[in-house]
Symmetry: C2
Subunit: 399 residues, 2 copies
């Protein structure tokens, strides 16, 4: 039913797999002799190739950021609210490139790929990749596409960290850095949550030291638990209250669960699911664990933990930013407790200290960290206005 | 080495096991035909039995609140900072009663006890117990000890919820309710964390549907993970930053781990423990999982989830408090994000609405929820001053 595709959608999109024959030396010391990147593009590259925007994905994202894969597709890409004709990342103006990062599980080379040297799944042999490695592979992609400078590199959460790394490592290759709901580096609490997730995966008896694909098993419970923990940190306390409160899941119903208030609903007095928030977490965990590779999840959380560009500058983030040559837009959300506004303000302060041009927006939003994926009017409008100016600037340069 | 026991300690204490032959009807509809409660007492009961204080423990607590079990004991009871001669809960003035709650695993009847009807471990057959059930068993204990009214009932966290239930259900049997770092009921986020903990325990292959003791196994990984998640919520983000920052655990050291800064320390580029916060969580989880019964952990988290005295009053907490006849002291800690100050203020507002006498203190503390267990001067001094007045009041009544 093609009529289900909204008019402000990029429509039906086809991913492309791009193979790189060149070596990539990783931060860990390992070398990949070659690799694939799965990408999607939306909009048209202009003749002087000045209107390209790179989208960097977060922990569980991939290349499918906007549009539909076919007419039967029930859901669009993960950032469809922001990317499309007339949307903030306007595909009438920009050529948008989105990729699945190295180590991912949506088509780019990662632990679930076949290692050409052994003919078996990489599994745990796939090397740990860092944000820096990703950005280096994204430079190779950019060269492949014949783009010499991005109009903007845009990303939220772990995607925002890639944006910062771009600005620091490849100052001449982007004009704008749009870093949303991110942090300069993880806090001990962030790392602690990631470690709980990893611990739950690697201790699942079906993990088989990462060789579950060979063993024909899958650490479903471990990954499910990891996602449940993650999900709590993506939602704010207030969003959860709004969404579930203390509503009880009715256990007597034979069809779909429906909510009942504690006053009329029945408690199980057992270890079943009593409250709606519990069924929600189960559902989210279950769905995720069916579609995501456990080794990739481990890799992504380590990339998060390791990210800290100030390490090369004796812990001084503003020194790290000194060489940056782009303009910055930073956005945070009031109830985000994973990467709260304070963390974005740390980045802003260090950018100012380094003498950079920075715009900072703190968006009032109830949805916690997840807010960066949602069409919150003030957020959408601000991003839209900023990128319109980016486009106007680009056109002025070209004229 | 008796000289290691400090002079302001209650010294060496001996737990007592008290057996109750009477039936206890539980909120779930189940009936316990009899049960044991393990208790400790500190200080002397005065002749008119007016100086007794009941201590209610939190999720992982037990009867051993103060002092040492023998001269070799490395650590005192869990609230030794608050209970002892000259301490806030002053054993020179008060007779202090502390118990292990029903369903516990430190000697009171619980899942790890033998079910007299079957001659086997209760395991998963031990009924779900609620805060209300605990308080009713505490009334039986009080009667057994010949105490008609507590000078105060005192507790933190889940212990504070027992304090509130005392005030509501047995208004004539306490003069003061001291409720620390608690909440009127759990938020959806609190329940979500508890569900993650339960999920990790019941999905451990060694859980054997709760019959692990019979099976000769133990869901160590599941309980460890549950405790790791719990531990993150007990500490504040700032406390974790203070304690660990992003210090790296040195993997090259052959002896004990020691911390190194990210600039000089080596990252593993694997899924080993890199950061100190990870080793800390592992250590805490490991230690806990060796000393705590998994079924008890499940019971305790459900008691937390179910607590909501407003349920009988159409959700109106102030109506629930109407019958209360004691004075209230509420204490919260600024960086406690498990039960933040807002939650204590909800209780305070409902108490005021019900026309009750209430003192409220918000303590500036960096340690998160754990602060209630720590000797923070302003906290200790305030609790001390309050309980001195409680004692003076009691003496005045008696004279």
């Amino acid at each position: 039913m093609s009529n289900t595709i909204p008019s402000d959608s990029v429509g039906i999109v086809t991913p492309q797999c791009i193979h790189f024959d060149e070596e990539l030396s990783l931060r860990s010391g390992n070398v990949l002799s070659g690799f694939d990147l799965m990408i999607e593009t939306y909009g048209e590259l202009n003749t002087d190739k000045s209107n390209a925007i790179l989208i960097c994905h977060a922990l569980s994202g991939d290349h499918h950021a906007a549009g539909y894969h076919d007419e039967e597709d029930a859901k669009p890409g993960w950032w469809d609210s922001c990317i499309g004709p007339g949307k903030p990342i306007d595909t009438n103006l920009f050529f948008v490139v989105s990729l699945n990062n190295l180590g991912g599980c949506a088509g780019s080379t990662g632990p679930a790929s076949i290692n050409p040297e052994t003919g078996k799944y990489y599994g745990p042999d796939f090397p740990v990749v860092t944000v820096r490695d990703w950005v280096r592979s994204q430079v190779m992609l950019m060269d492949h596409l014949g783009i010499s400078q991005w109009a903007a590199v845009v990303g939220g959460s772990l995607g925002g960290m890639q944006v910062l790394r771009w600005a620091i490592s490849f100052p001449e290759r982007l004009r704008h850095a749009v870093c949303i709901a991110a942090a300069p580096k993880l806090s001990a609490q962030n790392i602690a949550f990631n470690e709980v997730a990893r611990h739950s995966i690697v201790n699942d008896p079906n993990f088989h030291e990462g060789r579950y694909l060979e063993a024909g098993t899958y650490p479903k419970q471990g990954l499910m638990l990891a996602r449940m923990v993650g999900h709590i940190t993506y939602l704010s306390d207030s969003a959860m209250r709004e969404k579930f409160g203390r509503t009880i899941t009715d256990l007597d119903s034979t069809g779909a669960n429906f909510g009942r208030d504690l006053r009329t609903g029945k408690l199980s007095f057992g270890f079943n699911v009593d409250f709606q928030v519990e069924s929600y977490l189960h559902y989210q965990g279950e769905r995720f664990s069916e579609n995501f590779d456990a080794n990739t999840y481990l890799l992504m959380t380590k990339a998060l933990d390791y990210f800290d560009p100030s390490v090369d500058y004796e812990g001084d983030f503003s020194a790290a930013f000194k060489k940056a040559n782009c303009k910055f837009l930073l956005i945070s959300f009031t109830t985000d407790w994973r990467f709260p506004p304070e963390r974005s303000r740390e980045i802003v302060n260090d950018l100012l200290k380094a003498g950079k041009e920075v715009t900072y927006l703190e968006i009032e939003a109830d949805q916690g960290h997840d807010a960066f994926l949602l069409p919150i009017p003030r957020y959408i409008n601000a991003l839209s206005a900023y990128l319109k100016r980016v486009h106007a600037e680009g056109s002025a340069d070209a004229s």
